[in-house]
Subunit: 224 residues, 2 copies
């Protein structure tokens, strides 16, 4: 252990764009839309979980999906094909996150009038998207079992800004070094209250509780 | 498919710090040090692969390891305990990548005089670290099987800047939707030449070829 030095390097982080975010929140409130910002590492299963949830909810609510990627539109095609709901693909031209302004342009491109529920699949990145308030009503942070249960220790802000956390790919728990006890302990260091949902979209397992949670949040947004 | 609109949003990307990087490269050349920058998503198995490689190489080369994280020092402790080589933990205070200046401070903190091989484990992030030349001799980009074989399509720059690519966690190939054919096709769109290594550090499988490659690169750096 005596081989380790710890060196702190400071750098300015882009300032949050809270005022713009507040004006988006005001508009969403006026229009009675629940806007969910979904964030995670690349390849954690965001799209698969979104498709599953949209198909459970689309008969009861009017839903739109915004897919943000640096390049490619495979996710938007997947969502549109598998759910049939209105979908836009956003390309960030290299940017590692969506600013509030980008989120606003995305909402305009999608068109939110008449919608109850808008899902934004943010860039796959466990760091930068957490630094920018998109104006979303809630942040769903996803962590997949293969990534490991130590991630809240290493990527603090993402777990601090989470309104809810979904652990995905629980079907592969037996073959990865990941425990519910560790993830709950590590998450609670960053975030004392966010509910945790354990899910496998592949096995359609554990999604009921997350669906119930989202129905509650959408109901609150759309009620008078 | 007619439900999809594609919207391009432009934003300036931080400019690369190529001049500083060149001065690091010059110093490394003068001091005969091979400096490997290891980049990937969070949880792809960077630390496990680094520990495996260091233990294969440490009897033949003098090695130092720089572990960069936003917070926590679990990785530096793991590397120091499991390999015994000189290790420093860098905290980036929230930053999503290492700039060349941070890399330079890290090399100074580690102390490279007398070393043959320095490994930098960058922040787990498939976007931003690719935008900054750290001055490294080579970029090893890691992609784990659970992340999916479409990642070069979505995160182009990371795969463009790769000198070599290691696919990790191949032991779980049977249970994930990942094919060697797809990853090779998708990678070649971004990078025509980088060698690809298929590895499972857990099963100690496929590491020989990567070890041989690194021995060749180190040998080139340290020869007169």
């Amino acid at each position: 252990m005596e081989n380790i030095k710890v060196v702190e390097i400071k750098e300015d982080i882009a300032s949050r764009n809270n005022e713009q975010a507040q004006s988006i929140k005001d508009e969403l409130k006026r229009k009675k839309v629940f806007f969910l910002n979904v964030m995670s590492s690349p390849g954690s299963g965001k799209t698969t979980l979104i498709v599953n949830l949209v198909n459970r909810l689309k008969n009861d609510y009017r839903i739109g999906v915004i897919e943000a990627d640096i390049d490619s539109d495979v996710d938007a095609h997947t969502v549109a094909e598998k759910t049939g709901v209105k979908t836009v693909q956003i390309h960030t031209a290299g940017a590692c996150h969506l600013t509030c302004q980008m989120a606003n342009e995305s909402l305009s491109a999608l068109g939110i009038d008449g919608l109850d529920f808008v899902i934004l699949e943010n860039i796959g990145n466990l760091v930068c998207p957490a630094e920018f308030d998109t104006g979303a009503s809630a942040n769903l942070v996803i962590l997949s079992v293969p990534e490991g249960d130590d991630k809240p220790l290493k990527y603090p802000l993402m777990f601090e800004v989470a309104t809810a956390v979904a652990i995905t790919k629980t079907d592969v728990l037996p073959i990865f070094d990941f425990s519910f006890e560790n993830i709950e302990n590590n998450l609670r260091i960053r975030n004392p209250h966010a509910p945790i949902f354990y899910t496998s979209a592949l096995k359609d397992d554990g999604i009921d509780a997350l669906e119930t949670y989202l129905r509650g949040e959408i109901a609150k947004a759309i009620k008078d």
